[in-house]
């Protein structure tokens, strides 16, 4: 069943890709092929392979239970927040928070997580910024 849904999604993707390709504005200075042809070929391959996937599905994979899915979704949200907050609160604080969260969710105790998170953040800061001279996001506190 998973593969059938996947195939249908793939076909929709291929169709919208083809429409987006047809909507490309051609420049008056174009070569013999133009900017549309190759994307249309790609859309065709995408569509045909999706159709085959939908018609001849593999056995469905073992999807995780709902709480595991929430787990993954939450981690993704944390990563998005991390990306957004990085320039605002600075590298060290943001990284410590994100690493603490991930360590905690992967099975460490609360205190151990905070220690690991802080250690990861400070460790990366020391190695990459102080030793290797990489420029990391600077927060209001200067780090």
């Amino acid at each position: 069943m998973s593969d059938r849904i996947f195939g249908v999604v793939g076909i929709l993707l291929a169709v919208s890709f083809a429409f987006a390709a047809l909507a490309i504005e051609e420049s008056f200075l174009s070569d013999a092929v133009g900017p549309k042809a190759f994307p249309l070929i790609v859309a065709a391959v995408l569509g045909i392979s999706s159709l085959v996937i939908a018609l001849k599905p593999d056995a469905a994979p073992e999807w995780p239970s709902l709480d595991r899915l929430v787990e993954i979704g939450a981690a993704a949200v944390v990563m998005v927040l991390y990306a957004e907050l990085l320039p605002v609160i600075g590298f060290v604080i943001a990284t410590a928070l994100a690493a603490t969260y991930l360590t905690w969710r992967l099975g460490s105790g609360p205190i151990a997580s905070v220690v690991t998170g802080l250690g990861t953040s400070v460790g990366i800061y020391v190695v990459f910024h102080l030793v290797l001279g990489l420029s990391l996001a600077r927060g209001p506190l200067g780090f």
């Binding site: 998973s2 593969d3 793939g10 890709f17 987006a20 390709a21 490309i24 504005e25 051609e26 420049s27 200075l29 070569d31 013999a32 092929v33 133009g34 900017p35 190759f38 994307p39 790609v42 859309a43 391959v45 995408l46 045909i48 392979s49 999706s50 996937i53 001849k56 593999d58 994979p61 999807w63 995780p64 787990e71 993954i72 981690a75 993704a76 990563m79 991390y82 990306a83 957004e84 990085l86 320039p87 590298f91 990284t95 994100a98 690493a99 991930l102 360590t103 969710r105 992967l106 099975g107 460490s108 998170g117 990861t120 953040s121 990366i124 990459f128 990489l134 420029s135 990391l136 996001a137």
Partner: protein, 512 residues
């Protein structure tokens, strides 16, 4: 002997303090990454690419660092196979079969050192193979015009699923998805924006480094979150390593095996779509057929360790041949290495050997040096690496995630790229669950624009005649190979894959 003169020049480049240090660092990190389950050569190299850039390393030093990681990971994978019966990366899967039984008999140290020697033999001779085969391939590649290149790229995509692929439709889907992603951005020939939806950040196109790190490294973090590998820590018991030197008789007994497996593995590496996992697999199966008269394979036969280890390291060297000579990688890690070259503004392919001989020969010399370093590291110092294995994933994976973020942020300094990377991470997780290979996606994003340019150039030259694509014997030959390579797995793929995965039934691992 032009080759030897070039090689000597290469050693002159590689033997600087900086390059030696980078090779040492690469070998060390690579061995650790190979040994840790969940981090393989492709995601190991992927994480380190941004670093190499932000450190401002030149082309040769970056390549030396990253290929040392690649070779190192091929060595390191065996450590956890032997000690824990968990392959550290996919090519080390076959080493579990005889390595773990040997460790249980109290011969872990001998198994480790013997496999170290086998790895060395495989990698050493494969590097020689690379030296002699790559220039020959370059001579052929110089005959290629745009139409032949287009056919060659098609061949790479059609065979990438490889003989071990079970579902060619999914490989094709992945390749098309990657090519589609590459189309995003301003068209290089006419200057019109494509698929950008008015988003200014997308005008430059997607940075393939962002895609690679997201698909390979972050998706691994999600897989761990899903399975909570923390629970598996408990049954890691301390294994006694024991004596570290194998007796001479054992080395003598396994020498023919090592040599045969090296040849076979190298061949598997050079062929498109095969890669190191297949190299170790066919080496093991062939040796089993040839020399296993007393049915000792699978119960701790030293030859059963020597074969896959020599095979996968030889394949790693072999896989560099098409990447350097044609610019078309045949495996996941070489695709990642291609990304490095492209980001450094070096176009691999036949002209690389004449325009940047310092890069090519410096790299080859560094491979020899790295190989000796790895041998030295992997036999006396193997105890150190076994201790690294005790780091639980719940600490390791957040570090991997954070280092990925740091690397990408270091290149562009933009939050937008980080968001795209998270998106790729989630996409990678879903696709791995659905058993869609990730390597064609990467290759598609890498090669998409070059492939399109070759197509358009070929057709422009022939004044809009599409038949020019199948006009020369060379391109017809390439198309025929491509079609055979695509159809063959449909016939024999299921069987090979079933055998390969009979042991380690893990879903969605990234192939080397």
């Amino acid at each position: 002997m032009e080759t030897f003169a070039s090689l000597a020049d290469g050693f002159a480049i590689a033997l600087t303090w900086q390059n030696l240090l980078l090779a040492l660092l690469g070998c060390f990190l690579g061995t650790i990454m190979g040994a840790l389950p969940g981090l393989g050569p492709s995601n190991g190299v992927a994480i380190l690419i941004p670093l190499a850039f932000t450190l401002g390393l030149g082309a040769t030093p970056s390549l030396i660092l990253l290929t040392s990681v690649y070779y190192g990971a091929m060595y390191g994978g065996r450590i956890s196979s032997i000690l824990l019966n968990i392959p550290g990366d996919e090519p080390a899967m076959m080493t579990c079969l005889d390595g773990y039984p040997m460790a249980q008999k109290g011969m872990a140290g001998q198994a480790l050192s013997l496999s170290g020697i086998a790895s060395f033999v495989g990698a050493f001779f494969a590097t020689w193979g690379l030296i002699f085969l790559a220039p020959q391939l370059v001579k052929i590649a110089l005959l290629f015009g745009p139409a032949e290149y287009f056919a060659l790229f098609a061949l790479a995509f059609m065979t990438l699923g490889g003989v071990s692929s079970t579902n060619q439709a999914k490989s094709a889907f992945a390749a098309a998805l990657g090519l589609g992603l590459a189309m995003i951005g301003v068209d290089t020939q006419t200057g019109v924006p494509r698929f950008t939806f008015g988003e200014v950040h997308l005008y430059d196109g997607l940075d393939f480094l962002v895609a690679i790190v997201g698909l390979f490294a972050l998706s691994e973090v999600f897989i761990f979150l899903e399975k909570r590998h923390g629970e598996a820590d408990a049954d890691k018991k301390k294994v006694k390593v024991g004596r570290l030197t194998p007796p001479w008789s054992m080395i003598k007994q396994t020498t023919p095996t090592m040599l045969r497996s090296t040849g076979l593995g190298f061949l598997a590496g050079v062929l498109p779509g095969a890669g190191a996992s297949l190299g170790s697999f066919i080496s093991y199966s062939m040796e089993k057929r040839l020399v296993d008269k007393d049915k000792t394979f699978g119960t701790g036969d030293p030859r059963g360790i020597a074969a896959p280890e020599a095979g996968n390291n030889a394949a790693a060297g072999g896989a560099l041949v098409p990447m350097l000579a044609l610019g078309v990688p045949g495996s996941g890690t070489t695709a990642v290495l291609l990304a490095v070259l492209l980001s450094l503004n070096i176009t691999p392919g036949p002209l690389l050997f004449s325009q940047n001989p310092d890069v090519v020969w410096g790299l080859i010399a560094a491979l020899f040096i790295a190989n000796f370093m790895l041998l030295a590291m992997n036999i006396p110092m193997v105890g150190l690496f076994t201790r690294v294995l005790m780091v639980p994933p719940r600490i390791l994976m957040p570090v991997v995630a954070m280092v990925s973020f740091v690397g990408i942020y270091g290149i562009s300094g933009s939050s937008f790229d980080l968001l795209v990377m998270v998106g790729f991470g989630i996409m990678g997780w879903v696709l791995r669950k659905l058993d869609v290979p990730l390597v064609p996606i990467i290759l598609g994003t890498l090669l998409g624009n070059t492939m399109e340019n070759n197509l358009r150039r070929a057709i422009t030259i022939s004044n809009g005649d599409w038949m020019t694509l199948i006009d020369s014997p060379l391109s017809i030959g390439l198309w025929v190979i491509a079609i055979i390579g695509f159809i063959l797995p449909l016939v024999i793929g299921r069987r090979v894959k079933a055998q390969m995965h009979a042991k380690a039934g893990e879903e969605g691992t990234i192939s080397d």
